[in-house]
C-alpha cells in the first residue's frame, strides 16, 4: 500500500512541471499556434526563478517574486515566437525549434554564475501540484462554459469566422502564446526551485519536449492532461523502481515511457480519436484570406 502511495506521489511530483507546461501549450494550441519552444521557455524560466530566489545567496530571495520572474521570462521568450509567427506569419514549427535553441542557449550563457550553488529557501512542492491541477480544472471549465473559452477556441478553429464576429484574432493569439510562455516559465521555476533546487545548464533535460508531446497525447484536453502527466510521471518513476526486479535490460525500462506514449496514441488512433486538433493549428491567419 505504501508502495502504491509512494509511486503515486512520485507521479504527481514529476507530473507537475509536465502538467504546467502542457496546460500552457494547450492554451496556445487551442488558439491555433503551435509552440515547440517549450524547452527553451522552461530553461529561461528556471534560470530567472533561481536567480531571484537565490538573492544574495543567504536564502533571502523572495520566492513569490521568483515565481513571477520565471513566468515573466517565459512570457518574454514566447512573445518572440508570437511576433515571428503571428505578425510575420512565419512557420510555427521552425520558429519553435529556434526558440528552443535560443532559450536553452541564452539561459546557459547567463546562468554561468549560478551553477553549483545551493538554494536555502526552498518552497514546498504541494502548492505547485495543487495549483497545476486547479489550473487544469479551471481551464477545462473555462473552455466549456465561459465566453473567453469560446473566443479562444473559435480563433483556433475558424479564425476567419471569429474575425467576422469582431474578435481580434491576432490579439487573442498573442495572449494565448503569452499564457503558454508564462506556464512554461512556471514549470521551469518548479524544476529549479522545488524539484531539484539549483541551477545547471541543461537541467530541463528534455521535459519541455515531453510536455509538447503530452499535449497531442491528451488530445488538447486540460482534464486529460492531468491524467496524461501523472501517467507519464508514473512511467518515469517506475523505470527505476522496476529496474533490477527482473532480467529485462535497464534500457528497455528507460525507453518504456516514450514507447508507451506512442503506443497509447496509436491505440487511440485505432479507435478514431485523432480529430481533436484545432482546425487551424499551425496556420498563420491573414485578414481577407479564407
Amino acid at each position: 500500500m505504501d508502495e502504491i502511495l509512494n509511486a503515486f506521489a512520485r507521479a504527481l511530483s514529476f507530473g507537475t512541471p509536465l502538467l504546467l507546461a502542457s496546460l500552457g501549450a494547450i492554451v496556445n494550441e487551442r488558439a491555433g499556434v503551435v509552440n515547440l519552444g517549450v524547452e527553451g521557455m522552461m530553461a529561461v524560466g528556471a534560470l530567472a526563478g533561481f536567480a531571484v530566489a537565490y538573492g544574495s545567496g543567504t536564502g533571502d530571495g523572495n520566492l513569490f517574486l521568483a515565481v513571477l520572474a520565471a513566468m515573466g521570462a517565459g512570457t518574454l521568450a514566447s512573445l518572440l515566437h508570437a511576433f515571428v509567427t503571428i505578425t510575420l506569419q512565419a512557420n510555427q514549427f521552425v520558429s519553435g525549434l529556434a526558440l528552443t535553441m535560443l532559450g536553452v542557449g541564452v539561459a546557459g550563457l547567463l546562468g554561468k554564475r549560478f551553477e553549483g550553488l545551493p538554494l536555502f529557501n526552498q518552497p514546498p512542492e504541494l502548492p505547485f501540484t495543487i495549483l497545476a491541477i486547479g489550473l487544469a480544472l479551471g481551464l477545462a471549465l473555462a473552455f466549456r462554459v465561459t465566453r473567453w473559452g469560446l473566443i479562444l477556441r473559435s480563433v483556433g478553429e475558424n479564425p476567419a469566422a471569429a474575425d467576422a464576429l469582431g474578435i481580434n484574432v491576432l490579439g487573442v493569439r498573442y495572449l494565448a502564446v503569452g499564457i503558454g510562455g508564462a506556464m512554461a516559465g512556471l514549470a521551469g521555476a518548479f524544476l529549479s526551485l522545488v524539484y531539484r533546487p539549483s541551477w545547471t545548464d541543461g537541467m530541463t533535460a528534455g521535459l519541455g519536449w515531453i510536455a509538447v508531446a503530452l499535449v497531442i497525447f491528451v488530445g488538447w484536453s486540460p482534464l486529460r492532461a492531468i491524467f496524461g502527466s501523472i501517467f507519464f510521471g508514473l512511467l518515469y518513476y517506475l523505470q527505476f523502481r522496476l529496474q533490477g526486479q527482473s532480467g529485462i535490460p535497464t534500457e528497455v525500462f528507460a525507453s518504456l515511457p516514450y514507447l508507451l506514449v506512442i503506443l497509447v496514441l496509436a491505440l487511440s488512433g485505432l479507435r478514431g480519436q485523432q480529430g481533436n486538433a484545432p482546425e487551424s493549428l499551425g496556420k498563420p491567419y491573414q485578414r481577407g484570406e479564407r
Binding site: 531539484r196 527505476f240 529496474q243 533490477g244 535497464t250
Partner: protein, 381 residues
C-alpha cells in the same frame, strides 16, 4: 588601465629574463561544461591551482568538446602554441593517441585511459580506497541493512568503486546489501532524482552515487536520509545529511607533471611508461564531506558507537576509518581494499589470498563484489 600596462611591462621584463627557458603553455580539453559540479569542474579548479602554483605557466581550456571534435580542437590548440595538452576524459583516448603521433613535439597526457606513447602519458586520481572508507561508514549507519547507489554507467571505474564501497559496507555490516540503480547518463538530474526516490522507496536508508550534480544529496536530505558527497564538496547542499564523501585534487597531478616537464624530467620521448595512478597517499583524493572534514561531526557519535570486528578484535567504525585513512595516506600503506581472498558476487574467486589487484586489473574490472545487488549486463560468469 594603468595597472594593466604595468603588468605587461613587468611581464616583458620577466620575459626577457626567462627568454632562454621555453615558455610552458598547458591546454586542457574538457568533456563537459566547467559549470557542472562534477568531473569537469574539478579539472578546471585544478587547472587554476596549477596556474597559481607554477610561475610563468600559461593555461587555456576548451569545454564541452565532443570526442569526434577532439582532433580538430587539438589541431587548433597546437597552432596556438600549446606544448602540453591534457585530455580529461576516457572518451578522448583514441583521438589523443592519434594526435600524439601527429605532433611528436607536443606532450600529451590523457586522464583515465590505458594507451600511452613516447609523448603521451596517462593519469588518474582514483577513489576506490575512499569508497571503501565510505562503505564502512554506510554499513555502520544503515538501520535496515540496505544501502542505495545511483550509478551512471556500468563501466570498470564504477564497478571498482561500487565493489570497494560494498566491501566496506560488508566489513562493517556483513548482512547489508548495496542496491544499484543505473541511470545511463553522467549528467541527468531528473533521472538521478527518480532513481534516488526509487531506492529510498525500496528501503535503502543511506545513499551514495555517481552523477555530476548534487541531486541525490538533495533528494536524500528531503527524505532525511544520509548520503555521501561525490567528486566535489556537496556538504553545503545538505549540511545535516552529508556523512562524508569523495573529493578529488587533480592539481596534485597537474602540478607534479608540469613541474617535471619544466625541469626537463619529462620530455616528448620518455612518457611511454609514465602512468599516474594517484590515490590517498599522494593526496590526489581526499575522504570528506568537504575539504578538511573527513567525517561530518554530526555523525561522529553514531560511528564511534558502532563497532566492527577486525582480526578478532572489536573496534569502533570511527576508529577503523581513521586508522585506515591514516595508513593509506602514509608513504607505505599496508592496507588495500582489494586484498585477497575476494570472491565475486557469484562466488567465483577473483583475488587469491594474499594478492592485491594490480592497476591494470582494477582498470578493467568486470565483476562485482558480494553484497552488490543490481543488473550488470556483461558480468563474467
Amino acid at each position: 588601465m594603468k595597472m594593466r600596462w604595468l603588468v605587461v611591462l613587468l611581464a616583458l621584463v620577466l620575459g626577457f629574463g626567462l627568454a632562454q627557458e621555453k615558455k610552458l603553455k598547458a591546454c586542457f580539453i574538457y568533456i563537459g561544461p566547467i559549470g557542472d559540479i562534477g568531473w569537469t569542474f574539478a579539472h578546471n579548479e585544478a587547472r587554476l591551482a596549477a596556474e597559481r602554483a607554477i610561475p610563468g605557466l600559461e593555461t587555456k581550456y576548451v569545454e564541452s568538446v565532443k570526442p569526434s571534435d577532439t582532433g580538430a580542437v587539438i589541431d587548433r590548440l597546437v597552432s596556438e602554441g600549446c606544448n602540453v595538452i591534457f585530455t580529461t576524459s576516457f572518451d578522448f583516448m583514441d583521438a589523443t593517441l592519434e594526435a600524439a603521433k601527429k605532433y611528436p613535439e607536443v606532450i600529451f597526457a590523457h586522464a583515465s585511459g590505458f594507451k600511452r606513447a613516447p609523448n603521451m602519458a596517462t593519469y588518474m586520481a582514483d577513489f576506490y580506497q575512499v569508497y571503501y572508507l565510505n562503505g564502512l561508514m554506510a554499513g555502520a549507519l544503515t538501520k535496515g541493512g540496505k544501502v542505495g547507489y545511483v550509478g551512471a554507467f556500468p563501466i570498470p571505474e564504477l564497478k571498482r568503486h561500487i565493489s570497494a564501497f560494498a566491501l566496506g559496507v560488508r566489513a562493517a555490516n556483513p548482512k547489508a546489501t548495496v542496491n544499484v540503480k543505473w541511470i545511463n547518463a553522467w549528467f541527468d538530474p531528473t533521472k538521478a532524482r527518480e532513481a534516488a526516490e526509487a531506492l529510498i522507496a525500496e528501503g535503502n536508508d543511506i545513499l551514495a552515487f555517481t552523477e555530476d550534480t548534487a541531486t541525490v544529496v538533495q533528494t536524500a536530505a528531503k527524505k532525511k536520509v544520509p548520503s555521501f558527497s561525490h567528486y566535489n564538496s556537496m556538504y553545503k547542499f545538505a549540511p545535516d545529511y552529508v556523512v562524508s564523501g569523495q573529493l578529488v585534487h587533480w592539481e596534485k597531478i597537474y602540478i607534479d607533471f608540469l613541474k617535471k616537464v619544466k625541469d626537463g624530467t619529462y620530455t616528448n620521448k620518455n612518457l611511454q611508461n609514465v602512468d599516474y595512478w594517484w590515490l590517498l597517499r599522494e593526496g590526489a583524493v581526499e575522504l570528506g564531506a568537504q575539504v578538511g572534514m573527513p567525517i561530518n561531526p554530526k555523525y561522529a557519535d553514531a560511528l564511534k558507537k558502532a563497532t566492527m570486528t577486525v582480526n578478532g578484535k572489536k573496534v569502533s567504525v570511527y576508529d577503523r576509518v581513521m586508522e585506515l585513512l591514516k595508513d593509506m595516506s602514509s608513504p607505505n600503506p599496508r592496507f588495500d581494499p582489494f586484498t585477497g581472498p575476494i570472491k565475486d558476487r557469484n562466488g567465483v574467486l577473483r583475488v587469491p589470498a594474499g594478492k592485491k589487484m594490480s592497476v591494470a586489473e582494477l582498470n578493467s574490472m568486470q565483476w562485482m563484489a558480494p553484497g552488490v545487488v543490481g543488473q550488470v549486463a556483461d558480468e563474467p560468469k
